[in-house]
Amino acid sequence: MTQPSTAQKRADAKANAMTRPVEGPAPEVTVTRNMVKRGLVVAPVLIAICGFVWGLNGAWSSAFGVALVLINFTLAAALIAFSARISLGLMMGAILFGYILRLGLILLAVLLVKDAGWISLPALGATIIVTHLGLLVWEMKYVAISLAHPGLKPARS
């Protein structure tokens, strides 16, 4: 009986790794929980600014935009955490398919309300971009510190 070659052993090990669940806690859930908390804290400020610039319609649209971004983050984290418990390969598929799914859901959500009387599209667009990037940059600071100095465990706001 012939022994498997080194390349064959590596390929087998990689295939086994792809079908195994990812061990350990789900960091994306913690990251998203922090971002949602911060998002809820800054939401009144964003809504007030949009209300000041675009009026009452701007305030409603801004609230809708913040909700869209937070739901988008939550859905992404839930999809990764759920699929990682099954296998690494499934996690990859879930992330790639989830990207299309979430973009489709955002498009659907906006198409459903585009003709509503309370919608202000500039306010909605500005809120989506500012909230998404703002929360990510805010969270990145804490993640960067904890990755560089794992023992520090910085206190999260």
């Binding site: 992404a76 690494l88 599209l121 667009g125 971009i129």
Partner: protein
Amino acid sequence: MEAFAHLAAATGLTGAEQKTANAAIGAGFAYGLAAIGPGIGIGYLVGKSVEAMARQPEAAGMVRTTMFLGIAFTEALALIGFVVFILIGL
């Protein structure tokens, strides 16, 4: 532009109607093209992350954290394209 002018003449659209049609076409291209780049980026990012987790399972937590933030940052580009779409197309 000349092609659009010929198209307008052939279809009998007024200037405003033609402008709306052009905006719709532009918005569709903006969103579609803006979604392709992040799609490629996320595919590459996740592929490399999965490879790293398969090679070094003990580093999976760190890789997943950076992967998640990377996905979200890449997706921001698609969202910017989406905002352009809703501003000029809806």
